[in-house]
Assembly symmetry: C2
Homo-oligomer: 461 residues x 2
């Protein structure tokens, strides 16, 4: 793109009714019609998958008493700089401070302790779609780094470690369906280094994609909590011999703002957004192409017929019969990312055809009206969007051989190099980017040449 | 019911996986699987109706700076005793206090002022499904009076008062569809007296039902805000001559907790919940009735066939093939309120039939398997639930002729009597109950006999 990615991104959000960042509290976004519509599609899709996998929908309180949040010391240390505190109710000071949830482990697990008595109460698998709050000290960026984060969080308790590990596998699959299946986003799954895991977890795995400017964006995380929280919140169960054990836990969540940011950015082009059909607020726009008044009625009759037939199939359709020239309409709806445009003019009408234009490929087809299969075209569009985005993503994987090449490639995507795990060699690496993960593969250190492990490095959002 | 309604209600919530009120912050509920599932069904249904009516889904911040909340003096006076204040972020005091939204007028309307420039930007119609927070001083009661309230709120801005009035009519219809159509609840729509309107509104209308103990429960309210907020938030638009005008506004919302409380309470009976089919977490339970092991396989084959066929129709089915006696299973699923129970035993199998039992009427039918039309039965169940509940509701309308009769009937339902509008006659009336509305009808005062207006009085939740 000729335009800088940051400018393009801000223009997309503002011009397409996605979000408004002019609210008086900095870092707290207003989600507008098209943005929120897409997020709701994602949320419903994810919730249905989680419930089919045995998760119960729940809603836990947003306010967490200080003593609960302080129960797990590693956890609170990770969040204490970011917590919003409620200290006053009406005109009176509260007896104890209440945290506006930065995440819900400490809130939920006090209840899990009440619910888990015997092995028959397990597993506990719940999810909720809510906002969490973090008083960010870093610079905020719309949808990417906010002080109010709309997400879905899943939380579990199992009788055995094996079940917890199997759950992590299921969630990887569910999140992959959401990110790659629904949103056509290419992703990489990385286990975070120990120093970058979720506070209180045994380990954290992250699903991330690469933005057009080469920086990675973390879209979802999955935490193996082991028995860390169950021991401090005393979540136990009696096995069939009546012996007490602590439960094994996991927690996980994708942020919907980031999913939206990635969907807009990864697929977009110089003409604007290119939206995956399943989440697009308008899936098909119908445009009459009429220059003579005498043709208007018959063309509009045809357009209305197509509209009604598509609506019956549950497809979200808009008809643009405004006074603007067709070219101006094409421009608008292309920027909006509408997957399919269908044009009907007097000649098409005579031939019983319509012109169908794909947003993803620009392809223009003349299709007989009785052969119009929009659902089939949607799945071709999805396949193409997935393939195109994956190709770009694969081109952003680098394996440099020298420190100079390393410095050149960090910032353009995900870079794999060796590292000896010595702090002195971490310094030049971390000056260039962030260590996303430490793999188990061997590789000689890009700084000193000694034997080490392959790490993945990128500039991150 | 032999059991006291309050006891029955608490037992239903606890035993049916609806909510848990043992969280450490009093008045903040944990919504569990079945409760939250039903609320999600209601929310999706309502959101779809609002969006079909032209409302955009949105999400506005939960935190409102003190200066915004203070902008409208009547409004803040109505809420200041109930607002939770965030005063601290991380370890630092915030520069200005942030209110945890008690409602979103002041948050949204600062943005409306940016969005409304010309008449082409109007109408603005948005909705959001979120929690609001009120530090209640009154005693809380699960789902009915909470400190955290899950609701959907709609907000609008129109160029003319007429459009605002037409919108109020549309919302009355939409809410009636939700309450009476989806949830089969009988409702009465009352305009609140001026002293009981929403702070900042011209007037408020309320939709309410009657609970089994005779008290009314307000389920939703609709406010005509006139130009009250647009004048203080400076929400203007240029008409086609370039002249500036203030917009006309409305706001409205039902609370999902109260809808759930009413649905459980109004339809329930001594055996437990009776759930409207469209929101029931389990719509059909299939129970094999087998006493000999040799029959098991063939009966389970039939049950599996019915299950698969119902699932294909999008119906939520459970199969209870546990070791308990059939009677114990019936007891459990009846308490859970499952609309239809289908039993299959060896004899049914031979005849190609199943026994179908309706939860609402207790009716037992032997139905040939190839004639089983569950969707048709659901709509018969809905009709019956609506009719039964309406009958009870109508029996709770009173028109007493003496003050003694008045005192006897208040607390049993909605009581219509005359009132002269003098404060001294309000006293004995308000000792008995709350004035729900002042109608336009004439009626002589129940206290002093002078000419007056008919009012509606009830004990309220």
């Amino acid at each position: 793109m000729a335009e800088d990615f940051g400018e393009w991104y801000r223009r997309m959000l503002a011009d397409n009714n996605i979000v408004d960042d002019r609210y008086e509290v900095k870092g707290m976004l207003v989600y507008r019609g098209n943005g929120m519509f897409m997020i709701k599609q994602m949320a419903r899709y994810l919730e249905d998958l989680l419930e089919a996998d045995g998760h119960e929908p729940t809603l836990f309180p947003a306010l967490i008493p200080e003593n609960l949040l302080l129960t797990e010391s590693e956890h609170i240390a990770g969040f204490e700089d970011q917590v919003y505190w409620v200290t006053q109710g009406g005109k009176n000071a509260l007896e104890r401070k209440l945290a506006l949830r930065p995440t819900s482990e400490t809130c939920m697990y006090t209840m899990f302790a009440l619910w888990s008595r015997t092995h028959q109460d397990l597993p506990i698998k719940v999810h909720q779609t809510v906002c969490v709050y973090r008083c960010e000290t870093k610079q905020t960026r719309p949808l990417i780094r906010s002080r109010e984060i709309y997400w879905n969080e899943g939380h579990t308790a199992f009788a055995t470690r094996q079940e917890a590990l199997a759950n992590i596998e299921s969630i990887r699959e569910i999140y992959t369906k959401l990110l790659n299946g629904l949103l056509c986003l290419p992703i990489q799954i990385n286990e975070r280094p120990q120093w970058d895991k979720f506070p209180g977890a045994e380990y954290t795995i992250a699903l991330e994609t690469i933005m057009p400017d080469g920086r990675t964006l973390q879209l979802a995380t999955i935490h193996n909590l082991g028995q860390h929280f169950s021991k401090v919140f005393n979540i136990q169960f009696d096995d069939d011999k009546g012996e007490k054990h602590y439960v094994w836990q996991t927690s996980y969540g994708p942020g919907f703002g980031r999913l939206l940011a990635a969907t807009i950015s990864v697929h977009g082009d110089e003409r604007g957004m290119v939206l995956p059909p399943k989440v697009a607020p308008v899936q098909v726009v119908l445009i009459p192409v009429v220059y003579k008044d005498s043709d208007k009625e018959s063309v509009m009759g045809c357009i209305t017929g197509i509209r009604d037939s598509l609506k019956k199939q549950g497809i979200r359709v808009a008809v643009d019969d405004g006074p603007e020239r067709p070219g101006a309409k094409y421009f608008l709806w292309e920027q909006r990312g509408v997957p399919l445009r269908i044009e009907v003019g007097p000649r098409d009408l005579k031939e019983g055809k319509a012109v169908v234009v794909r947003r993803d490929s620009g392809e223009k087809l003349s299709v007989p009206l009785d052969k119009l299969d929009v659902q089939a075209m949607f799945s071709q569009i999805e396949d193409n969007m997935r393939t195109k985005a994956q190709k770009k993503f694969d081109e952003c994987q680098f394996m440099p051989q020298t420190l100079g090449q390393f410095r050149d490639s960090v910032g353009k995507g995900i870079v794999s190099v060796g590292w000896c795990e010595k702090p002195e060699c971490a310094k030049p690496i971390e000056e260039a980017g962030t260590i996303l993960s430490l793999t188990k593969e061997s590789g000689s250190c890009i700084v000193c040449g000694r034997a080490g492990k392959v790490i993945k490095v990128a500039k991150t959002y």
